[in-house]
Structure formats: structure tokens, C-alpha cells
Symmetry: D2
Subunit: 133 residues, 4 copies
């Protein structure tokens, strides 16, 4: 993920709230890779994921033009919600990637109209189970 | 309108795309002042405003903690669309406010489901006409 | 704090990452009320606050045109960092305000050039102490 | 460029101001492809590009999960500023890509400290000239 002007603030570094966006992009691509398209799923099932809890810890800043790696790993799969551990890393030549930000994001499945919690569709759970093996 | 960290970029100034947000906030408050609440209107009429054209010219930058004035004035009221002239100004002690950004925003009324153009509801046109006097 | 189009997402509700912005705006105004202007302080001391940890819990969604109240309260004042408890509430007629989101934000003071941690300037600590009484 | 939740609004479509971000990302990658890295250039020359004028016309909306193509083409290369014509397109199976948004962005080169206009560095102009052939 590339850092653009839109991602930075007057401190010269990436605005901290934007890591929630980077983490969401990575989750979305990881779900897409497992065969789960959120817009299509909403049209088919009437449901969608919503974020219920976020915890982020910031270690080092990122800057304009940096190229970040962002990871996603399910740690607590449930019937109606999931916890996903995520990390943003800055690759470095001749060294381990530097950890910029790590976080834990809890997402629940809701009815898109009423926003009431519902069970995650079976095909999503199966895709996640297959992805974790 | 106050400038926060979220509004700035690594150049130390307000990120230019954000003036579209400031202009929208000012249009919304101006409509609200004329008795037009967009969310309520959508529920009542099934329609909403969408932006079809924007032109912005940037004169001077704004910075963190600046307090901006933003103006809105209808210049081309039509049956299905409006053009609104807007300016962002920085008040200065002992001098005229400095012009930071000026723009022209064209908005059209659409059916919120199909996104097809429709006539602006009469009560909105009446509120705008009253507001321009 | 008013909710505008810019704050919402295709779920029809406020995009969850934006509560970090709302909380920052409230912290900034609370500091300003205590006499602490961040941009002026940076020019005078060469330092600035950076966010090191965030925890947010989402209870109910906000929607377009909602008017939110956002609170801020220091819970762990230290020499080099602070923890601030914050809540976003939706006032309701004839009922208690509804809790939308609550969070805990840890901020540290750093040298604005090197981004290394430093002691919070005495005048900021004094302002905070006065504000908590 | 993929559309994520962060890019959408409560109308169910991409928030119009975000096309300025998409266009900027495309310009940045196009400059990078020509060998121009903005952060490195700023450190070497003390200068940076700033946007002075934007004109956008919106034709059709984009939605969550859409994959957009964004183009960039210099039309008015000058000594101190450039105009870049840009388009956002939605590829379609069995049809021409649909035009979503087209715009014209004028950028000038300034001293990063004083924000005063300066001549675009020769190596940037050479890279652009080579890229336009």
C-alpha cells in the first residue's frame, strides 16, 4: 500500500486514523482472495460486516511515498463476529521490516437494513476456515 | 470552520481536496438554515442532491488551528440543478479577510434509488428563493 | 459536532474510522479551552502531541444530519504522555443521550523534528491540572 | 484503483471529493513511473508541487468493490506549472469502459518552506517531456 499526500498530516507523517483505512483495505483484499466480495454478498444476503471494536498501537511513523505491507489474520472466529489481528510494516533493505502499527479489529455481521446482529453466512465462515489452513 | 490535524497534509497546509468538504458543510448548514434537512428530505421524497461539477481555485493555504469562514450563494437556480458559488476566507486582525479558495459547485437532484435526475422538490426551491431575497 | 456526507459510508452510517477524527476535534477544542493552541505551541516549543494507542468500542451508529456531543476526560496524566477517555453521544428528546462510541486515546509528547519522546511542557501540564479540577 | 468502504458515502456511491484523491494517486504513480519521487525531490530541491486549480465533471457513480482505471495526460506544460487532464473509468465486460469522472488539475511548483512559486526543476521537466513522447 502506497502512502500519498491524502494520507499524511502537518506533522509530516501518516495521520494515525488512516491505519484503520489501510487495515480495512487489507481485510477486504484478503476476503476477496478467499472468494468473498462484500458488495455482492450484501446484495445476495442482505447482510454486511460492521466494525464493533478497534485497538491500535502505533510504533513508528510512515511518510509520503513509503510502501507499506499490511497483514491480516483471524484469531477469534465466532458465529456472529470475528477478531482480526493486523500489522502495518515498512520493508527495509538489508533489515527486517519495521513494525509501524499493530491492531486488533473486531467485526460483526448485521442485517444491512436493521443493523441488528445476525449469524455470519455459512459460505463466509467456510471461506475463512479454508483461508486459515 | 476550524482546521484540525485531519485536514492538513505533509506540506504543513490544508489538503486541497478538503475544501470540497468545507464547502459541502457550509452548503448543508445554509440549507438547514433555510429549513431544508437533507436526510429528512430523502426519507420524505426519495430524492437527494448529487454534485455534478466542481471548479476550485486555490489562492492561499490554510494551516492547523486556523478558523475559516465559508460562504455560499446560489447563482444559477434551475428546475433540476443549482450552481452555488462558494468562498473560504481567513479572517485577519486589522485587515480584510484573506481569500483562500473560491469555487463553483453544481448540484442536481436525483432519485436516491435509481440516481436518475428529477425535478427539485417545490419546497426546496421555495426555501432557496426565500433565502436569496 | 454535525454529521455530513463526508462522514458517512455506503452502509448509510458514519464510517467507524471517523470517530477518531471526532475525538481529536473534541480534544483539540478542550485543550484550546484550557489555553493550549497546538500550532502555536509547536512554534514555541518545537514539540507536538502524537497518538500512541487508541481503543474504540462502537455501540450504535450515527447517521447523516445527526448532531453529536463528544466528551474528553484525562484519566492517566503522566510526564510524557496522557490517556484521555472519550465518548460520542447522540442527544435524544425525552431520553438520556444514546452512547454511540467510547474510546481511550493515549497521546505522547514528541520533538516535532526527530519524533523522539520528550517531557510535556510544564504550561500544558498546568493547564490540564487546572482543567481537571 | 479499488473502491473501499472509506471511499463511499450514505448515497451508496463514491463521495465526489474522493476523485481528487484518485487523480492524485494516479498522477503520483505516473510521475514515479517517469522517475520522479516527490518526497525525495523535496529533500533534494526544497520544492514541491501544489494544486492551484481543479475542475471535475461527474458522469456516473462508482460503488463499493468497483475497480477503476485512472488516466493522466499533461496538456499545458509550463515553466512553473502544469495542467493535467485526468479520467476515471469503470471497465465493463463486453463494452467500452464507462466514463465516471473527468477533470483538469493545474499544479504549480513552490518552495516548500515559503510556498512561493518557483521554476519546476529541469529534471522533472525532462522526465515529463520524455513521458509525453
Amino acid at each position: 500500500m502506497r502512502i500519498y499526500w491524502e494520507d499524511t498530516d502537518a506533522g509530516g507523517i501518516v495521520f494515525y486514523a488512516n491505519y484503520l483505512k489501510f487495515f480495512e483495505r487489507a481485510r477486504t483484499e484478503w476476503l476477496r482472495h478467499l472468494g468473498v466480495e462484500q458488495q455482492a454478498l450484501r446484495e445476495q444476503t442482505g447482510g454486511m460486516f460492521v466494525v464493533s471494536d478497534t485497538q491500535l498501537r502505533y510504533h513508528r511513523p510512515a511518510r509520503l511515498d513509503n510502501l507499506l505491507w499490511v497483514t491480516a489474520r483471524v484469531t477469534e472466529p465466532g458465529k456472529a463476529s470475528l477478531t482480526i489481528e493486523q500489522r502495518a510494516l515498512l520493508p527495509q533493505t538489508g533489515a527486517e521490516p519495521a513494525l509501524l502499527c499493530e491492531g486488533s479489529i473486531r467485526i460483526g455481521w448485521v442485517n444491512a437494513t436493521t443493523l441488528r446482529p445476525e449469524r455470519i453466512p455459512a459460505r463466509v465462515l467456510e471461506a475463512l476456515a479454508a483461508g486459515n489452513q
